[in-house]
């Protein structure tokens, strides 16, 4: 009798879709903010002080977004290593 583990399948699908969306969104936010920071650098001429603080804020938030995306992937790697050691197939 063929047994399809529907619960496992749904969980795999949910986790894969959720994690991909989260990591890519965080990275995309980082890209967006970094681009904004570069734009702020280019527009320094008008109001230098404001542009510099904007640029720093954009860069800092971008770094946080990249770090969050990386930590999600690093956690995935951690799971891969620890799980394969603890649960042989």
């Amino acid at each position: 009798m063929v047994e399809i583990k529907w619960n496992d399948l749904i969980m795999v699908a949910g986790a894969a879709i959720g994690v991909s969306a989260l990591v890519v969104s965080l990275f995309a936010i980082g890209v967006r903010l970094l681009t904004n920071a570069q734009h702020a650098v280019a527009g320094k001429g008008k109001n230098k002080g404001q542009s510099v603080s904007k640029e720093i804020a954009f860069r800092l938030t971008a770094v946080i977004a990249f770090a969050l995306a990386s930590s999600v992937l690093a956690y995935g790697l951690f799971i891969l290593v620890t799980f394969s050691k603890a649960n042989p197939k």
């Binding site: 063929v2 969980m11 969306a21 890519v24 890209v31």
Partner: protein, 403 residues
């Protein structure tokens, strides 16, 4: 141990390592097709990185190898002896090389299962095949893997494009996804090494147990770990350029944001499936991700004809590898050691023929290198470079205003 038996073991170990090699170059595309296609990495750099990550991955754990079992087969593989495993490996290798020749990404694990199933039929009859397990472990995952990864990649790509959408006078900066691609593709290569190298380690250990050279609970010898890791890394390094071409250019037009989304989807689907115990083929997941990322970008084209060919290849993998495994097993079972040697000679002739035929339409890293590769530096610009470019643009704008 008599010399003939030792010769058989040596032949089977050599063939298992060659299978590992084909597994490496067949699956390089899973991790590196999209970064090469988008120009995130030069082809040679990409395969070197993939080889290193596969090598590291092979050493991370041997838990899978220690307990490898082919539960699609009813019966004791060790009782049938090394010759049966040899026949199974022949089927897997020849199918892997055939799909590589046609540039079709197919599952190396399914080819290995298929080859062993075919050989098991000859040694143990049709009762040796566990049809229920084949449906559960091969057919059902093959149906769902590309859809799960495809939906994940489609959603991720759509989100990436929405978030980095063009605002007035601000560039999208999507080239920066190339930097992300280096890390995401490394993760996929690492997880591949962790899973696939261990299958060969398991097969070699099985042969040693079957030949009475090792006890069943002794674990994987260190030389087996090193040789399997080296074989998969070497195979990855040699680069399966034909499949890389299909995955990177043949399925969909891929840009950096799509490539990043596809790799992250592949990585997260493999991790989730490993963790939750619903084993999915890396190749099928990676192919589904590429198609999903193709659908996620407005205006991108997905080549459904090529996708159809790939799916046909997936469903042919098991029976085709089983067919070759059966023919091979008929020789090894019927003629004994002489059959095994004849089998090895025939396999080598067929391998050489496939390689010679492939040389007529040679695809290598040079033919894959695109103009976009030279633009990688733009994506990895330092803040200093950005300021320099901004100053340059400002100067140019001033010059225009003066005129």
């Amino acid at each position: 141990m008599e010399q003939t038996a030792l010769l058989v073991v040596v032949l089977v170990v050599a063939l298992a390592l060659f299978f590992d090699f084909t597994n490496g170059f067949h699956d390089t595309a899973n991790a590196m097709a999209t970064p090469i296609a988008t120009g995130a990495m030069k082809p040679r750099t990409a395969v070197i990185l993939a080889a290193v990550m596969n090598l590291i991955g092979a050493f991370i754990s041997t838990a899978v190898a220690k307990t490898i079992s082919v539960d699609t087969i009813n019966g004791d593989l060790t009782a049938w002896g090394p010759a049966m495993i040899f026949a199974g490996l022949t089927g897997a290798i020849l199918w892997n090389l055939t799909t590589w020749f046609f540039g079709l990404p197919s599952s190396s694990s399914h080819a290995l299962f298929g080859g062993l199933i075919g050989a098991a039929i000859v040694y143990g009859g049709f009762d040796a095949v566990n049809v229920t397990k084949i449906v559960e472990k091969v057919l059902i995952p093959a149906l769902f893997a590309p859809f799960i990864a495809g939906i994940a990649a489609w959603l991720a790509t759509s989100l990436a494009y929405i978030i980095t959408g063009r605002k007035k006078n601000v560039a999208t900066g999507r080239g920066k996804f190339k930097v992300g691609q280096i890390f995401s593709s490394s993760l996929v290569a690492l997880s591949h090494g962790t899973n696939d190298a261990q299958k060969t380690m398991g097969v070699i250990t099985l042969v040693l147990v079957a030949a009475g050279l090792q006890s069943g609970d002794a674990g994987v010898p260190f030389w087996v770990i090193v040789s399997a890791a080296a074989a998969i890394a070497l195979g990855t390094f040699s680069g399966g350029w034909r499949i890389i071409k299909t995955m990177g250019h043949g399925l969909a037009e891929i840009r950096p944001a799509q490539g990043f989304a596809a790799e992250v989807s592949t990585g997260s689907t493999i991790l989730a499936s490993s963790y939750l115990g619903f084993a999915l083929s890396t190749t099928q997941v990676a192919s589904g991700s590429v198609i999903g990322s193709g659908l996620g970008r407005v205006g991108a084209k997905v080549r459904w004809g090529k996708a159809g060919q790939i799916v046909i290849g997936w469903f042919l993998t098991l029976p085709a590898a089983a067919g070759v495994g059966m023919l091979s097993a008929l020789l090894t079972r019927g003629l004994g050691t002489a059959g095994l040697v004849l089998d090895a000679v025939l396999a080598i002739i067929l391998i050489v023929v496939i390689f010679q035929m492939s040389r007529k339409n040679n695809i290598n890293h040079k033919s894959l290198a695109e103009s976009g590769v030279e633009e990688v530096g733009v994506a990895i610009a330092s803040p200093k470079q950005v300021r320099k470019e901004a100053a340059k643009a400002k100067k140019a704008a001033k010059g225009k205003a003066k005129k």
